[in-house]
């Protein structure tokens, strides 16, 4: 177990509370090596855990793993039309969770914010289908606004009334779900009233597809771009730094850093919600082309695993989102080809999160031992 945790927690392991380090050029090769080790380790844990669970469940492990492979990255079609298409909402919601968690905001409500964004975007393009690209852009913006507004409810409840956002965001997830359920059976339902969904949105307001990549749409570029910018902001901008400081130690941020903790926290709610809302908008405009109840198979919940595995670093979320997208795409294939319940990957995801938090805890323990020593160093230095 010791070697395992050492490797797992090494270099670019996932840490919730420490800022991403920016390695000096001389250490770059070393950290790249450690990163590669980490990725290999995560992948082997995923494969071994899946295989183990399959074996325990009495399934044909080889058939099931083969299905997992072909359904996720085994072919160009699966890679683009299944895995990458799924990775887009996971990247955006993963980033939403990372921004919130970094600031010490436990936003478990990305799912509800995604639904709010999807509903807002669908409403915009259904109301104004003839404006083409303008409608499209407006829908993306309104999706982000919708998600932001939805998250800000929890933000206000926390700042004004001291309501724990863990509970309020989960409650808001249920409220959003029923609200969408009402919309697609009420005001936004298609005119024949036969199906609980909206009309398909006009061709002219859909996100363009990437040529030669099946169903994959330009939302992928948007998501990757946002992750790049978000990661850069967290590392190199004052705003990003304030976010991290507030998350690390709000008392210190307020007293020593001249930071308005309340404002930064509320902004974290807003940004987080906006990112999740954008995910919903992109999903409607690029994948489903209509609003219906089950528009998200739990992206907002998987996002927590995505963000944690990436150590809350937006740059690394590109990879962890792709990993989880591959897993969930493969899960569908496993169910089809090998009769394995697709819920099995939820177990794998949960085990991955637990592995991350356990290694973090073990690492904190090891690190905390010589704290007296470092303090003595500081005193001697001063």
């Amino acid at each position: 177990m010791r070697w395992f945790s050492t490797l797992f927690a090494g270099g670019h392991g996932a840490t919730v509370y420490t800022a991403p380090r920016t390695p000096a050029p001389s250490r770059l090769a070393m950290s790249a090596l450690r990163f590669a080790t980490f990725v290999t380790l995560v992948l082997s844990v995923v494969v071994l855990a899946t295989a183990g669970l399959l074996a325990v469940g009495g399934f044909d492990v080889r058939v099931a793993l083969a299905a997992l492979w072909t359904g996720s990255i085994g072919s160009w079609y699966a890679l683009t039309s299944a895995t990458f298409v799924r990775a887009v909402p996971l990247m955006l919601t993963g980033c939403a969770v990372a921004v919130a968690f970094r600031a010490g905001v436990f936003n478990i409500g990305a799912e509800g914010q995604l639904l709010a964004g999807a509903a807002a975007a669908a409403a915009v393009v259904l109301a104004a289908p003839s404006l083409g690209i303008v409608s499209l852009l407006l829908a993306l913006v309104m999706g982000a606004v919708g998600g932001g507004v939805w998250a800000s409810i929890a933000g206000i409840l926390r700042s004004r009334f001291g309501v724990l956002e863990v509970i309020s965001t989960i409650m808001l997830n249920f409220v959003a779900l029923y609200a969408v359920s009402y919309l697609v059976r009420g005001p936004l339902q298609e005119p024949t009233h036969a199906y609980p969904q909206s009309l398909p949105i006009a061709e002219s307001v859909r996100l363009g597809q990437i040529p030669g990549a099946g169903r994959l749409h330009v939302g992928l570029l948007l998501a990757v771009g946002i992750l790049m910018v978000a990661g850069w902001m967290m590392r190199y901008t004052a705003g990003g730094f304030r976010l991290l400081v507030v998350g690390e130690n709000p008392a210190a941020a307020a007293s020593a850093g001249l930071i308005d903790v309340g404002a930064v926290t509320f902004r974290a709610f807003l940004c987080s919600g906006a990112l999740a809302g954008l995910a919903g908008a992109v999903e409607v405009l690029g994948v489903t082309f209509a609003l219906y109840e089950n528009i998200s198979p739990g992206y907002g919940y998987t996002a927590i695993a995505v963000a944690l595995l990436a150590g809350l670093d937006p740059w690394r979320i590109v990879l962890s989102a792709a990993l989880f997208a591959a897993l969930e795409s493969g899960a569908g294939a496993m169910q089809r080809d090998a009769g394995v319940p697709s819920t099995l990957v939820m177990i794998v995801e949960a085990l991955l999160i637990l592995a991350v938090v356990v290694t973090q805890a073990l690492r904190r323990r090891r690190v905390s031992a010589p704290s007296a020593l470092t303090r003595a160093d500081l005193v001697a230095g001063a």
Binding site: V16, L53, G57, G58, F106, I108, L157, F161, G162, V163, L164, V166, I167, S168, I170, M171, L172, F174, V175, Y178, A179, S181, Y182, R185, G186, Y301, I304, A305, L308, P341, T343, L344, V345, M346, I347, V348, E349, A350, L351, I353, L354, V357, V358, Q360, A361, L362, R364, R365
Partner: protein
């Protein structure tokens, strides 16, 4: 239709809905009184519900309840090992454990019983009217002609209240929640009590899940806990971390959920989603009114040292 024809079923539905919420929330009171918040309660309820299914199909009602408690205990044990033993983050661990429970129960359910959706029908515990009390007009049948597990909740709430305030162990529990370092210095075995509290909370969550299956639905469905664990955590806040307050808060929630039956009986014309969403809206409203004013245990949710 006269008022009694609405009120009596409404009260009965109130108590029926409140029972699992009260059981889960009473367990969570204990957990939060030692300074831990267990978001995995949702997972414990779900595991309990699934345990009830397995137990009841194998060995009838009693086995169902035992297996339900076992399922909740299992989830509680995982949480205790991670949070108390290894000092992992409470919120993230709880979230992961709920995910684990959703995945595991879903997978096992489909593997054992098939995903065709053919709902299994299980034996449900029949109401046991208490002689005398159950014949009180209007309220009698609602409160005193219930399955035995409801009476267990009636007993548990005052018992837990007494135990927390009047016994040495109860005092130790409260001390840990307020000031763990001082409790440890006073010779209280902090981690052992924390672990026991989490296990008890898990077991009660499991029993709550068992109640859903064995006293209400008579069947299991994937994800059937549908947020009750989170509502129970809100109920703890609403009940101000006191067992009797929590029991009353659970009844209030039961009433809010039961309103939908009453409204339906009155043929009130509104989107049905409005009724379904009511418990969640009420949770938010209740937390808004209470959360700031009630004082939580001082060490609640803080990283364990």
């Amino acid at each position: 239709m006269n008022e009694f024809e609405i009120i009596a079923p409404f009260l009965a539905a109130t108590v029926r809905t409140a029972t699992p919420l009260a059981l889960a929330a009473l367990g969570e009171v204990l957990v939060e009184r030692v300074g831990i918040i267990n978001i995995g309660l949702e997972g414990a309820i779900l595991a309990g519900a699934f345990g009830a299914l397995v137990g009841a199909t194998a060995g009838g009602l009693a086995a169902g309840y035992v297996a339900a408690i076992g399922g909740g205990l299992l989830i509680g044990a995982v949480f205790a090992v991670c949070v108390v033993g290894l000092r992992t983050d409470q919120i993230i661990t709880g979230t992961a454990i709920t995910l684990l429970s959703v995945g595991a129960t879903g997978t096992l359910y489909r593997a054992l019983y098939g995903s065709s959706g053919a709902a299994l029908t299980l034996p449900t515990s029949a109401p046991v009217p208490i002689p005398g009390l159950s014949s009180i007009p209007i309220v009698g049948a609602a409160f005193f002609a219930q399955p035995p597990v409801t009476y267990a909740a009636y007993v548990l709430a005052p018992l837990l209240a007494w135990w927390l305030v009047r016994t040495h162990v109860g005092l130790a529990v409260r001390a840990i929640g307020e000031q763990p370092a001082a409790a440890a210095a006073a010779g209280i075995r902090v981690d052992r009590l924390r672990a026991l509290a989490v296990l008890t909370g898990g077991a009660l969550g499991g029993l709550a899940g068992g109640t859903l299956v064995l006293a209400q639905a008579g069947t299991f469905a994937e994800n059937m806990s549908s947020g009750r664990g989170f509502i129970a955590i809100a109920i703890v806040v609403l009940g101000r971390w006191r067992p009797m307050g929590v029991a009353l808060a659970a009844l209030l929630f039961g009433a809010a959920s039961a309103l939908q039956f009453a409204f339906q009986a009155m043929a009130w014309n509104a989107p049905y989603q409005l009724f379904l969403v009511m418990p969640y809206l009420l949770t938010l409203a209740a937390l808004t009114g209470v959360a700031g004013r009630a004082r939580a245990p001082a060490s609640l949710g803080k990283p364990l040292s």
